[in-house]
């Protein structure tokens, strides 16, 4: 698993990159009550706002960490947004991206580097 400075995680699964947010980010957001996911087949560019997470407190954006095409979204989050707090690095993935070259994921932080970032 790799990590961005925006507290997302990326995981290569088969031919795709799966994206979610870290436990640290989920704890900072507080209770998540609504997740707005992108449409399948959306083309996204690095830095695009792809997902909106509404917590009890506020709305936050998830930005696309890499360029790609959304091939699948986690529909379970629509009916059960609380999964983001319960299992942020497991069942609460947000979307899968088809990317040109899977090695694009290597540029991000590993677990130790991310642990240093959040102190």
């Amino acid at each position: 698993m790799k990590y961005t400075e925006e507290h997302e995680w990326l995981r290569v699964e088969g031919d795709y990159v799966v994206v979610g947010i870290t436990e640290h980010a989920a704890a900072q957001l507080g209770d998540v009550v609504f997740v707005e996911l992108p449409e399948v087949e959306t083309q996204v560019a690095t830095g695009d706002e792809v997902v909106v997470i509404e917590s009890v407190k506020a709305a936050s954006d998830i930005l696309a960490p890499v360029d790609g095409e959304v091939v699948e979204v986690n529909d379970e989050l629509a009916s059960n947004p609380g999964l983001v707090n319960e299992d942020p690095t497991g069942r609460a993935w947000f979307f899968k991206l088809k990317v040109e070259d899977l090695s694009v994921v290597d540029q991000f932080m590993d677990e130790d580097e991310y642990a240093d970032l959040i102190g």
Binding site: D31, F34, V56
Partner: protein, 364 residues
């Protein structure tokens, strides 16, 4: 600007409170989590530190009747008929009928005790001094705690048995180990409960004594906001401000018949709106989907006409769905009216709803 620290700052940090700036103060926004704290308050009892709010004594130069008459010249509510040991909701208005602040005021025998909003305290005191002169004494040596929820009475009665006899909006003084407590049966969550003014040296002891009880948990600003939103209560600077009148804000209930002849700032506009109805009205709003409609969300009629704006909105943990309040043109203010709120460029359906979302459980 330097942030002020609450008398119980260190206790909040010890309890794991996440501290944020609010109205010039370091305030705990949450402890366990907004959702859990909100639901705990509705089910048991929540302890809130509301020491950031302004406590102000008005001590009459001559007698209470004269002081109450002077207060009535500043508020469209009834102060003269307020019996000793009772509290009321008040509104300071400006010459245009706008709401400078909302507040609680209590007749404590030889003085009035006001509790005003943190963000308005300095302006309120200046305003009061301009009209009431040296009768205005800010209270600087007391903390203010709120204990709210269906088990608040059981909890507080272990320390102060006299609270069992209090009705909603009663005020008493109780001499305790923690000093002389000024207790009112009130709060801002829609739940039964108490606000307790405690001398600073006794504040931590009182808070710890309450928190040691099984039903009492510390609650932060986040849940305070979601509780008062579900209860349909206004937050100054958001749902009401100097540009909204009490009639527009659906607070006409606070203006009794005895004051409908005028004699307060903004009477001309406020009385006209009472007679003819306001052009816009504060309403409850129930978004039909799961996306919260937050403050600033623009509201539209079915035909696309802009009809208003959300002034407070979020998720209602007890309702289990998004809830909001806002102002809409009077023609669209009836409960059940279908509207649309623009969220991130999309128009989502929302129904005008009766307030409150969660009925109050005051002990009358």
């Amino acid at each position: 600007m330097d942030l002020q620290r609450l008398p119980l700052h260190d206790l909040h940090v010890e309890l794991g409170g996440r501290m944020v700036p609010f109205a010039g103060w370091h305030m705990p926004v949450q402890f366990e989590g907004v959702m859990a704290e909100h639901l705990h308050t509705r089910r048991a009892a929540g302890l809130f530190d509301v020491s950031h709010m302004g406590q102000v004594i008005l001590r009459p130069r001559t007698d209470m009747a004269a002081l109450c008459a002077e207060m009535e010249a500043l508020m469209p509510v009834a102060a003269a008929a307020l019996p000793e040991g009772r509290q009321r909701y008040g509104l300071l208005t400006n010459a245009q009928g706008g709401i400078l602040d909302d507040l609680m005021f209590a007749n404590r025998g030889d003085h009035l005790l006001l509790v005003v909003n943190a963000g308005r305290a300095a302006e309120d005191i200046a305003h009061l001094r301009a009209h009431l002169g040296d009768q205005v004494e800010p209270v600087t040596d007391r903390a203010l705690l709120a204990l709210q929820g269906p088990q608040a009475e059981d909890a507080l009665a272990r320390l102060v048995p006299a609270v069992m006899a209090m009705r909603f909006m009663d005020v008493i003084t109780a001499d305790t180990l923690f000093g002389a407590l000024w207790i009112s049966r009130s709060g801002y969550t829609g739940e039964d409960g108490f606000e307790i003014s405690v001398p600073v040296p006794g504040a931590e002891g009182l808070a710890r004594a309450l928190l040691a009880m099984a039903e009492v948990a510390p609650i932060g600003l986040g849940a305070r906001d979601s509780l008062r939103l579900e209860a349909g209560l206004c937050l100054h600077g958001h749902d009401i401000d100097a540009s909204t009148t009490p009639v527009e804000a659906a607070l006409s209930w606070a203006i009794p018949k005895s004051r409908r002849g005028g004699g307060f700032p903004g009477a001309e506009r406020i009385l006209a709106e009472l007679a003819d109805g306001p052009e816009r009205l504060r309403v409850g709003l129930a978004p039909e989907g799961r996306a919260p409609m937050r403050e600033g969300t623009a509201l539209f009629a079915a035909d696309g006409t802009p009809v208003g704006t959300v002034t407070s909105g979020g998720f209602g943990p007890s309702v289990g769905a998004p809830v909001a309040m806002g102002y809409v043109a009077a023609a669209h203010a009836a409960p059940g009216t279908p509207l649309f709120g623009e969220v991130r460029g999309k128009r989502l359906p929302v129904l005008v709803a009766a307030l409150p979302f969660i009925p109050a459980s005051f002990k009358r």
